[in-house]
């Protein structure tokens, strides 16, 4: 009996111990290093930690309630009403009101918004548009429509970014942005007590810091994922979320669509994917990835140099400039594209300065959700193109995308994933649909290391 009791006690203790070891811990400092600005739009890593949207996209890409708990449309999607979540407060303690939401959205989108007017009515926010807005809930989940406090209770602009998110800004020193856990977050307190984000850090330096244990999460560019995997690093990667495309100026020496089509046919996508991006990319001739639409294969990705030269018709435009903002990999990709285009009869010079007039630009477009129509509108908007009127169904989406691609001003090349190397002390790190790390749900195994809010752990 005693032996049974002892055995039972040991088994229960072991189970409790195992459960205690595996359950998320509160507190600790999560250290992140990134190459970009944490507040940049879109994709700034700090934005979704501090700010929330009226809606959000879940891991599958579906739109879920966030600051709005419910919404409905009227008048064939010309009018939308979003009912705000009650009891939500900004991080300075002021309540989230429809007026604050309207002010925030007006600040975020002063012009060319998907809607034509926005009003606060009771506990709701009303969107009205001249055109139907079938994808408005999905659009509002986007990074650019996150809600931030624009005026404090004293009627002054806030001194920093104040939102309703799980973290609030607690300091910025020596290039390190410090975010502290928002105890009163409507979605619950995050696990990590503090997040330190070291921005504008080169990938090589990030890896160096990661190798010596000075950071927990670093970026892994697609072209280095293979190397990272060979080094058996803990890699968290996203589905293809970044579209690499060449945007061609519609004016000047490339005014002719045939010339632009010739250029599109002259680019060797497979070489970009297989060599420069080390087979981590997904070649594409469509704006939306195959996992969103399923029809991506209808757009041929193969290079056809003979047809490209035939379309050029012997016309040799003057020296063209190809801007490639970004890191060395982007420069290399641009050099490769220039080389391909030279074979096609275009004399292209690569420049890193995109501020001056250029004929071609190698750009990256981020997918922020899994809503195809919203993604297409987002890409078209980012490219400065007028998106076709939205329709219903895959055929309408295909036609819209075909219409955009038929202009040959945006040539999709690759879809690239986002990836991060994660240290062993980080648990449950998942990536958002836009490929950014969901730091709010991540926890730390060793909360004592570098923890400035150790006492917050339960």
């Amino acid at each position: 009996m005693l032996w049974r009791c002892a055995t039972s006690f040991l088994l229960v203790s072991a189970a409790l111990l195992a459960w205690g070891r595996t359950r998320p811990h509160y507190g600790g400092t999560l250290r992140v290093e990134i190459a970009e600005d944490p507040w940049q739009r879109p994709g700034g890593i700090a934005r979704r930690l501090v700010l929330d949207g009226l809606t959000r996209a879940d891991a599958s890409g579906a739109t879920q309630p966030a600051l709005a708990v419910d919404w409905n449309s009227e008048n064939q999607n010309h009018r939308w009403q979003f009912k705000l979540r009650p009891g939500v407060h900004f991080q300075d303690g002021s309540p989230l009101t429809p007026i604050a939401v309207v002010a925030s959205l007006n600040t975020a989108c002063p012009s060319n918004c998907p809607w034509s007017a926005i009003h606060a009515v009771g506990g709701s926010v009303i969107f009205t548009g001249d055109e139907p807005m079938p994808n408005l809930p999905g659009l509002l989940a986007g990074d650019e429509y996150l809600i931030a406090l624009t005026i404090t209770s004293e009627g002054k602009p806030p001194e920093g970014v104040i939102g309703t998110g799980p973290f609030q800004v607690s300091g910025f020193l020596n290039g390190v942005l410090t975010l502290a856990a928002n105890e009163n977050c409507w979605a619950g307190r995050p696990f990590a007590g503090t997040i330190e984000i070291r921005a504008h850090r080169a990938v090589r330096d990030q890896w160096l810091d990661w190798s010596v244990g000075r950071t927990d999460i670093v970026e892994v560019p697609p072209e280095q994922m293979r190397q990272a995997q060979q080094q058996r690093l803990n890699i968290v990667s996203s589905p293809p979320v970044t579209l690499l495309a060449v945007q061609i100026a519609e004016s000047g020496s490339l005014e002719s669509p045939l010339l632009r089509q010739s250029m599109a046919l002259g680019i060797d996508r497979s070489a970009l994917s297989n060599v420069i991006f080390q087979k981590q990319g997904e070649v594409t001739a469509s704006l939306l990835p195959a996992n969103l639409t399923g029809y991506s294969f209808l757009f041929p990705v193969e290079r056809d140099l003979a047809k490209a030269q035939q379309l050029r018709g012997g016309i040799t435009p003057p020296l063209l400039t190809l801007a490639a903002p970004g890191d060395a990999t982007m420069q290399l990709a641009a050099q490769r594209i220039a080389l391909n285009l030279r074979e096609g009869g275009f004399n292209v010079q690569v420049t890193g300065d995109a501020t001056q007039h250029v004929d071609l630009t190698l750009r990256e477009f981020r997918l922020e959700g899994n809503q195809p129509q919203a993604a297409l509108e987002s890409i078209a908007g980012d490219a400065g193109l007028n998106p076709p009127p939205p329709g219903q169904g895959d055929m309408a989406l295909f036609q819209s995308e075909s219409e955009i691609l038929g202009r040959y001003t945006l040539i999709p090349l690759l879809y690239l994933p986002r990836a991060f190397a994660v240290s062993g002390r980080v648990r449950d790190l998942r990536l958002n649909p836009d490929g950014s790390p969901d730091l709010a749900d991540a926890s730390l195994l060793d909360t004592a290391r570098g923890d400035s809010s150790r006492g917050d752990a339960p």
């Binding site: 070489a271 420069i276 080390q278 490769r336 080389l339 030279r342 074979e343």
Partner: protein, 606 residues
């Protein structure tokens, strides 16, 4: 030009020519020496460059050899051959090139395509024909295209890695650029430039065709150790010659108009494996030192020449004086003799030809003086004889009637008184008339001996001739029974001023007119003419008489010579005397039966 001047000029030219010939010879020799020195230095530099080139080639080859021997590279080559996947090695060439300190490095896979390129990372998967050069093991020149559209000249070596076939190749190289030129050993005053041939227009093809026609010279492609060359265009003919022929070319390049700013340049073509000219190395050696030396030598030569010429002039002066002085003395003595100074003699010094000439001259003058004295004495005697004959003749004519009259008077004393009175009266009349005739004859001689000195005044020859014509035209017309003589006139209209004594000139012209009238006893025409010619006034008195023989013409102006029965022979002598006193000349033109023309030329006043 005098003998002395001729001698002076001859000596000076001789000396100056000799000095100039020496200076020219020295300058040519100096130029040859400097040219030879330039050629030696250029040849030395070319050999140094070739050694340096070989040294660099060996460095590049050794670097590529070391790379190909690395385990890392061999492993990569093995993986490439096994897997055929070049993707993992995209940046490998950059890393290896940095380690090996190479400017260019390409890894070429077994399929001949670029796996990784340090100089153009985006050029992976494109073919690289240079990998075929691995069999030669010899470094070579190659023009490498760069991503920015430019190209660079490099010294390359190719090595196969692993040795297995198909093999992976490493193509490594170093750039031939400013630093390469800066490392080359150069002599003072020497500049080394490199002209890189332009590549084909932008294309993905890594190797331009060898048969590309020679492009136009581009001054921007010529650079030195310090970058672009300011006077690049001056080197164009030289570099083009090397590019065109593929052989060394040499020329003097003038950078400015000044000779000091010129260089002795040699262009050396650098060729690729196919023999095409990829670049031209230009070695320029400044000629300032040589030009300055030439200028110094030329200045010295000019100074020596000037001094030589001055010395030559001085020597020539002395020599010419020594040689020409006796000749000049002879000339002066000859002039003295010609002027009538028969006592002139030249000194007789030495025994040379000139002294012989001087002695001969003195002897000749002495003999001439003696002959002249004898001639004068003969002429004087002849003149006295002629005078005596003329006086006897002139006096004999009146004396004979005087003698007859006196004899007649003597005989008449025996006659009755009345007859004697008659004879006496006639005789005294005859005596008185003949005595008057004697007085007239004596007066004429007296007048000739007392010719007055001319009182010059400005007159017009036309007026004088007009007065003479008027006088004798009236006189001729008033002589009844005289032969019919007409007067003609051919006097120019323009004024003919002259400085002359009007009375003496009138007298002379009157004598000529009277002679003309006497020469035409049967009548005729006397023509008076005058004209201005060559600053002189020419006056002519012509008749249509019987004319004169040449012998008569020769003696016509001899005093007391006359062709008339009762003439004194002093008329034309007086005319000649008047003309001579007016610094003029008189001549006669005549032939028998053709009339006679007396021509007087007197100085005009204009």
């Amino acid at each position: 030009m005098s003998v002395r001047q001729k001698l002076l000029l001859l000596f000076s030219l001789t000396v100056a020519g000799a000095v100039a010939a020496v200076a020219w010879t020295v300058l040519v020799r100096v130029r040859q020496i400097f040219d030879q020195r330039d050629q030696r230095e250029t040849a030395l530099f070319v050999s140094q460059f070739q050694r340096e080139f070989q040294h660099r080639s060996a460095e590049v080859a050794a670097a590529v050899d070391r790379l190909s021997a690395q385990e890392r590279v061999r492993s990569m080559a093995f993986e490439l051959v096994q897997s055929g996947d070049p993707a993992p090695y995209l940046t490998e060439a950059q890393t290896l090139a940095t380690d090996a300190q190479l400017d260019f490095l390409e890894i070429v896979g077994p399929d001949g395509n670029v796996v990784s390129s340090a100089q153009w990372p985006a050029r992976f998967a494109y073919p690289e024909p240079a990998a075929a050069a691995a069999a030669t093991q010899t470094p070579f020149l190659k023009r490498e295209e760069l991503p920015d559209g430019s190209d660079a000249l490099g010294l390359f070596a190719v090595r196969a890695v692993g040795g297995a076939e198909p093999a992976v190749h490493l193509i490594g190289g170093k750039r031939l650029d400013e630093s390469f030129l800066a490392d080359l050993p150069v002599a003072p005053g020497m500049q080394v430039y490199l002209y890189g041939e332009a590549g084909a227009p932008a294309s993905a093809s890594p190797a331009p065709p060898a048969s590309v026609a020679m492009r136009e010279f581009d001054a921007r492609r010529l650079f030195g150790a310090n970058g672009a060359v300011a006077d690049a265009a001056r080197y164009q003919p030289l570099i083009d010659a090397a590019r065109k022929t593929g052989k060394d070319a040499n020329a003097i390049v003038y950078l400015t108009r000044r000779r000091e700013d010129s260089v002795n340049a040699t262009a050396i073509p650098l060729k690729d494996q196919a023999g095409g000219v990829l670049a031209v190395l230009a070695v320029a050696l400044a000629r300032a030192e040589m030009v300055e030396a030439q200028q110094r030598i030329r200045a010295i030569a000019y100074g020596v020449a000037a001094a030589g010429i001055l010395l030559a002039i001085a020597f020539s002066l002395w020599t010419a004086a020594r040689v020409s002085r006796p000749i000049e003395q002879l000339a002066r003595a000859a002039e003295e003799v010609a002027a009538g100074n028969w006592e002139t003699r030249v000194p007789e010094r030495g025994r040379d030809e000139v002294s012989v000439l001087a002695r001969s001259f003195n002897r000749m003058v002495a003999e001439l003086a003696g002959q002249r004295e004898r001639l004068m004495q003969s002429e004087r005697v002849a003149a006295w004889r002629e005078l005596a004959r003329r006086l006897a003749h002139e006096l004999k004519n009146p004396l004979f009637p005087l003698q007859l009259t006196v004899e007649n008077l003597t005989r008449a004393r025996a006659l009755p008184a009345n007859e004697f009175d008659e004879v006496f009266r006639e005789s005294t009349q005859t005596l008185a008339m003949e005595i008057a005739n004697l007085k007239t004859i004596i007066g004429r001689f007296s007048d000739f001996s007392k010719m007055p000195k001319p009182q010059l005044e400005r007159i017009d020859a036309k007026d004088t001739l007009a007065r003479v014509r008027a006088l004798y035209e009236v006189a001729g017309a008033a002589s009844p029974g005289a032969a019919k003589i007409t007067f003609g006139s051919e006097i120019a209209d323009e004024p003919m001023p002259m400085d002359a004594d009007p009375e003496l000139l009138h007298r002379a012209l009157s004598n000529l007119v009277l002679n003309a009238m006497d020469a035409m006893p049967e009548g005729g025409t006397v023509t008076l003419a005058a004209r201005a010619i060559d600053g002189k006034i020419e006056m002519r008195v012509a008749d249509t008489g019987t004319g004169l023989t040449p012998e008569e013409c020769e003696r016509l102006f001899t005093p007391y010579y006359t062709t008339r029965q009762h003439g004194t022979g002093l008329g034309l002598a007086i005319v000649q005397s008047v003309v001579a006193d007016h610094a003029g000349t008189i001549a006669v033109e005549s032939r028998p039966g053709g009339g006679t023309v007396f021509v007087i030329r007197l100085p005009g006043a204009g």
